[in-house]
């Protein structure tokens, strides 16, 4: 099995390099790269599955002529669990990308793009299996850089360059915190090996607490915790859609992996860690979905939804920590289980949604929702899969999004009565309910404005369905969403070794604790079936009733207005207006409105623009302050040699007077 794993990595990287070499010369670069990656990913899935099912841990280790470095890797249940979405989404996105990038074959060097894609996949895989601090940091940074180059694929656009810069800055700053964290751990443990860290089980509050904070900041920047999320809404829209799917679906999860892995170094967790994560989760979840609701740009909206889902994951982890800290293993298992399961689920449906957005962009050339509409008639596949993805991301039964949220709900309700856990669990209940309903609002908006109704522009009216190479991945991911939901009761069993590692209890114990949700999940599956069955019955009934009866075709009820036009449909901004208004304190949307004047108004316009409040209120002032300070030192290099020599003299005198 191990050989399969390394073989797959070699295959992915090899095909990437091959397409890099082919790069400038032939369109084959755009075939070799993706298909190599696809096959490699299929290969890689096998060992991951094997580890999860059989529970055998694979590990490799080799000496590395590098200070504090060691080439040690291990695939345990946790790593394997993260490997699955990585290989899954990377594979299908690669397939998708080969078609998506076809239009650039003549204009751009796709070899480089595919090289970085494969580098990204490989580095992600290595991140989750690395067992040494230096190795981890190296592959972590390679991952960031590769994704940076993928994001700036269309670097002719100023906006893309700006986004790339923001992403690079954010990820680098995050990495700095991680450096400090690992060095600190190494200082205590005397080595950078994860085994050593786990053996140490740092429990003195003086170390564990700060290290946890560092991890939350460092990994949170990658994962997109608010307020470290500013790069997501910039980078995801800028990147090509298959890359956005990969980054948003999988790459940001490596941040979650890092956080969870760090938790295995620190034990026992203190309760305030849980509180912190629950707080972060609530903030990210609610504010993330609110900002999503306010967007007009489809991919930007999806990016904010990644923030929201990361928030839900954080809620799960937070509850898990509280459970561990307060010795309520059931809560721990449910919390961690839900959080981790949501990682997989989000990878599936967010990948699906970004691919869908990509094929819309590919077909119409715009991400502006208010320029679209009525695509369901011209793009049935994309629309159907996108609808499935929307149901899933809203966490509605019978799809997979609901399953992981169900874990967290049950956990929260379970401990509601317990004095030491009731406040966060109540917060989780309220927060999740709001997140869920807001998500429904947001995705009915997307679905309604983009795919339903009448096309608002020529581009939308003449859109074409994308071909099989782009359809198959979406269908595959949609099926994945269904499968996870349907297989939920069995998946619980598989989760237990994964959760066990995090919660610090034996797998058997986890299995027993998860019994509480086993039977409900079966019922949920039944209810899902019942639902589908019911809809089918009713549909048939309807057909029967209408059989032989007159079925008229008419225009939509226009309230008697003579000349309705497609522009009169409810737009994304008008749909979201009531909620935006309700939460304007947070969103601070800027509206520019020139009202229609006199009897026959020539022109009238209304623009609403919601930019990230954290970027505007925190980061930009900070950067400007630094820049002002920098400018205030500019006189030093003012050009006169006399002054320069004076510096020397002054330095000398100061040192002498100080020294003697």
């Amino acid at each position: 099995m191990g050989i399969l794993f390394w073989g797959s990595l070699a295959m992915i990287l090899g095909s990437g390099m091959a397409s890099l070499v082919l790069g400038r010369f032939s369109p084959w670069a755009n075939r070799v790269g993706p298909f190599g990656v696809f096959l490699g990913c299929l290969m890689g899935l096998a060992p991951a599955m094997d580890v999860i099912v059989t529970g055998t841990v694979m590990s490799w280790s080799a000496a590395w002529r590098m200070p504090y470095g060691a080439l040690s890797c291990r695939i345990d249940a946790l790593s394997a669990f993260f490997l699955i979405p990585i290989f899954l989404v990377s594979g299908v996105s690669a397939l998708y990308g080969s078609r998506y990038l076809k239009i650039h074959e003549t204009t751009k060097n796709l070899g480089a793009s595919w090289f970085f894609y494969s580098a990204l996949v490989v580095s992600m895989a290595l991140v989750v299996v690395a067992r040494n601090g230096v190795l981890f940091l190296v592959v972590w940074e390679i991952m960031s850089l590769a994704s940076f180059f993928l994001v700036t694929f269309e670097h002719e656009k100023e906006s893309v360059r700006q986004a790339g810069w923001i992403y690079l800055t954010a990820t680098h700053l995050g990495a700095v915190f991680l450096m400090v964290m690992f060095v600190w751990l190494a200082r205590e443990a005397g080595s950078m090996d994860f085994d050593r860290f786990e053996a140490m089980r740092f429990h003195s509050a003086a170390i564990a607490g700060p290290v946890f904070i560092l991890a939350v900041i460092g990994f949170g920047t990658k994962a997109g915790f608010i307020p470290f999320h500013v790069w997501l809404p910039e980078a995801h829209p800028a990147a090509p859609s298959h890359v956005s799917a990969l980054m948003s679906g999988v790459m940001i999860k490596t941040g979650i992996y890092g956080l969870v892995r760090t938790l295995t170094f620190l034990s026992p967790p203190q309760i305030w860690w849980g509180w912190l994560l629950v707080g972060v989760g609530l903030t990210s979840g609610v504010i993330g979905v609110l900002f999503a609701l306010a967007q007009h740009d489809l991919k930007r909206l999806l990016a904010y939804h990644s923030v929201e889902n990361i928030g839900i994951i954080a809620l799960g982890l937070g509850l898990g920590l509280i459970g561990t800290a307060t010795h309520q293993p059931v809560l721990a298992c449910l919390g961690f289980g839900g959080g981790l399961l949501h990682v997989l689920n989000h990878a599936l449906f967010k990948g699906l949604l970004f691919l869908g957005a990509g094929s819309v962009l590919h077909a119409t050339g715009t991400r502006e929702m208010d320029r679209l509409g009525g695509l369901i008639k011209r793009m049935p596949w994309t629309s159907a899969t996108f609808a499935a993805g929307s149901v899933a991301i809203c966490g509605l039964p019978p799809l997979n999004g609901f399953i992981s949220e169900f874990f967290i709900y049950v956990g929260a309700y379970h401990v509601l009565g317990r004095p030491d856990a009731s406040i966060p669990s109540a917060g989780v209940i309220v927060g999740m309910a709001m997140i869920g309903t807001l998500a429904v609002a947001c995705f009915t908006k997307v679905l309604g404005v983009v795919f339903l109704g009448e096309p608002r522009t020529e581009a939308a009216a003449t859109a074409h369905e994308s071909d099989w190479a782009m359809r198959m991945p979406m269908v595959a991911l949609a099926l994945g969403c269904v499968a996870v939901a349907a297989a939920a009761p069995w998946i619980v069993g598989l989760m237990s070794p994964i959760v066990a590692g995090v919660a610090g209890i034996s797998a058997q114990a986890v299995t027993t604790h998860l019994q509480i949700i086993q039977e409900p999940l079966e019922s949920v599956t039944w209810i899902g079936l019942l639902l589908v069955f019911g809809i089918a019955i009713l549909a048939m009934l309807r057909k029967r009733l209408l059989a032989g009866r007159p079925i008229g075709r008419a225009g939509t009820w226009d309230c008697g207005y003579a000349a309705p036009s497609a522009r009169m449909q409810y737009t994304s901004s008008s749909y979201a207006k009531p909620l935006i208004h309700l939460f304007d304190g947070i969103l601070q949307t800027r509206t520019s409105y020139d009202a229609p004047v006199d009897l026959f108004p020539a022109h009238a316009a209304l623009h609403t623009h919601t930019e990230d409040v954290f970027r505007r209120r925190i980061y930009e002032p900070l950067f400007h302050a630094v820049d002002r300070f920098r400018g205030s030192l500019h006189w030093m290099q003012e050009g006169r040699v006399q002054v320069y020599i004076l510096y020397i003299a002054v330095t000398l005198v100061v040192l002498l007077i100080g020294g003697l």
Binding site: V138, R161, L168, T169, H172, W184, Y647, L652
Partner: protein, 500 residues
């Protein structure tokens, strides 16, 4: 052996002065570079015997810096062959003020290059402080004409500042030498010879206050040459106005030599038990240099000046590493190696960019990727390397220095260090990415591109792409794997400077 190392370049230089321009001097340059590199390699094989009763001797730090210098010089001279071939020797228009200017005579240029190599070699091998001083001052004098290769007003100004500032600084170092001599004189009569080992052997006998002031004077003096802020002022001007290959040598080799001189006196102080004081000074200078570098790197409008300031930054990191001691010294040594390779690579790539764009402005130049693919890759790769991103070598050394700081629980230092590194990264990211990406713009009017450069794919002259590429590959390798031999030398050097 050591005589050969010094003598070959010097003699060749004198010869080069008299042969007429053309392929002859270039060939000579290349030949000497190869020979010198060969000699250096042989030094790694067999430890050369000390000569002049221990005045010239190759210890671990010397060997390390000698190797860097020799390697860099080899790469630079390969680059120089193509460069000198491309240069047109008539008078041409300067792209900034548009004034006419000519180049210095090629033979003079080559001569000075060779002498430069010779004097730098002398710095690395000289164990006697007086001789060390002579050598360092000599490097200043022979490198001045190199900076004034393009004979236009700005390079002239740069040269003047370089000479004035460095000479004043070095003069202070001379006084430091005399103080050391006084310190080495006990009870009026017998004098300890000013050889490193003798001084270190009976360091306890040295007269403390005099030694201390000697250290201050030498630190300021050689620090001026090394480019520690606020003594660095000559550095951006000289680096930005000299030809790129000279900048590569200045930044990659010369600064290291000055650093070596600082290390020497620090060794003596440490042996005399004043290391605490010395280290505090080094840490202070280091952080301040990083601050100044950050100040001027962000929003820098001239990318060669930016590279120069980044050299200030890295010199600061070096002295910080040594000042932190312990593992930091090993880190500093490794950092010196990586920095030299990376910075030389960047300067050479910058040379290619200037050759095509005829501009050094970070505001105008765009789309290097599309105009010069290979150079573009080198440029961005160099940026990642110089800012210490994995998998490049500088990441490892910076991590080691950070670890040294944290291991001693010096949180203030660590935080300042990281904050400045981050600011510099952000500033550089903005500049490099804007230059490399986007549509090609900022190019001069058609036909202005020099001979040898056709701005189409894969038509960059091999001689000007291969050397930086080789350097880049080297630092990449050092980021993933440190060879056994290098590791040993680094450890020895670190041990010599009181670390591990």
């Amino acid at each position: 052996m050591i005589f050969l190392l010094i003598g070959v370049p010097v003699l060749a230089g004198i010869v080069a002065f008299f042969i007429r321009p053309g392929w002859m001097p270039r060939l000579l340059l290349l030949a000497v570079a190869v020979t010198h590199a060969g000699l250096t390699v042989s030094v790694w094989m067999v430890q050369p015997a000390p000569v002049l009763d221990g005045w010239l001797l190759l210890d671990a730090p010397g060997q390390l810096f000698l190797s860097i210098t020799s390697l860099l010089f080899l790469m630079v001279s390969i680059y120089a062959v193509g460069y000198l071939a491309r240069e047109d020797w008539g008078s041409r228009q300067d792209f900034k003020e548009g004034l006419l200017f000519t180049n210095a005579r090629e033979s003079v240029f080559v001569c000075c290059l060779l002498l430069f190599l010779g004097t730098m070699t002398l710095v690395t091998v000289s164990q006697h402080f007086g001789l060390l001083w002579v050598a360092v001052e000599a490097t200043t004098l022979v490198s001045a004409p190199l900076i004034y290769f393009h004979r236009h007003v700005r390079s002239l100004e740069a040269t003047w500042k370089y000479i004035m500032i460095c000479s004043v600084g070095i003069a202070l170092a001379l006084l430091g030498n005399f103080f050391l001599a006084v310190a080495a004189t006990f009870n009026g009569q017998e004098h300890i010879p000013m050889l490193l080992e003798n001084l270190m052997d009976n360091a306890s006998a040295l007269h403390a206050p005099w030694l201390k002031s000697a250290f201050i004077f030498m630190l300021v003096g050689y620090g001026t040459k090394m480019g520690l802020a606020p003594l660095h002022t000559w550095l951006p001007d000289a680096h930005s106005e000299s030809p790129s290959l000279v900048s590569a040598l200045l930044s990659g080799a010369l600064l290291n030599c000055a650093f070596l001189a600082v290390l020497r006196i620090y060794q003596v102080c440490a042996a005399a038990g004043m290391d605490a004081y010395g280290r505090s000074l080094l840490v202070g200078f280091g952080l301040f240099s990083m601050l100044i570098a950050a100040t001027f790197i962000v929003r820098q409008i001239d990318f060669k000046r930016m590279l120069a300031y980044s050299s200030v930054e890295h010199m600061g990191i070096l002295s910080l590493g040594v000042g932190l001691g312990a593992g930091g010294v090993y880190g500093a040594m490794l950092h010196a190696v990586n920095h030299s390779l990376t910075k030389a690579m960047l300067f050479l790539a910058a040379g290619n960019i200037i050759a095509v764009y005829r501009s050094k402005s970070t505001r105008e130049i765009r789309g290097v990727f599309s105009v010069l693919p290979m150079t573009g890759v080198l440029w961005v790769g160099g940026f990642l390397a110089i800012t210490g991103s994995p998998p490049f070598g500088l990441f490892v050394s910076e991590l080691l220095i950070l670890k040294a700081a944290l291991d001693q629980g010096r949180w203030g230092v660590a935080i300042a260090y990281l904050a400045l590194l981050s600011v510099i990264f952000i500033g550089m990211a903005a500049i490099f990415c804007r230059m490399a990406q986007g549509h090609a713009s900022g190019l001069p009017a058609a036909g202005a591109t020099p001979r040898g450069f056709k701005t189409t794919l894969f038509n960059e002259p091999l001689l000007s792409v291969l050397p930086p590429l080789a350097l880049g590959v080297l630092t990449l390798v050092l980021g993933l794997y440190i060879p056994e031999g290098l590791h040993r030398i680094l450890e020895l050097a670190a041990a010599a400077v009181g670390g591990f």
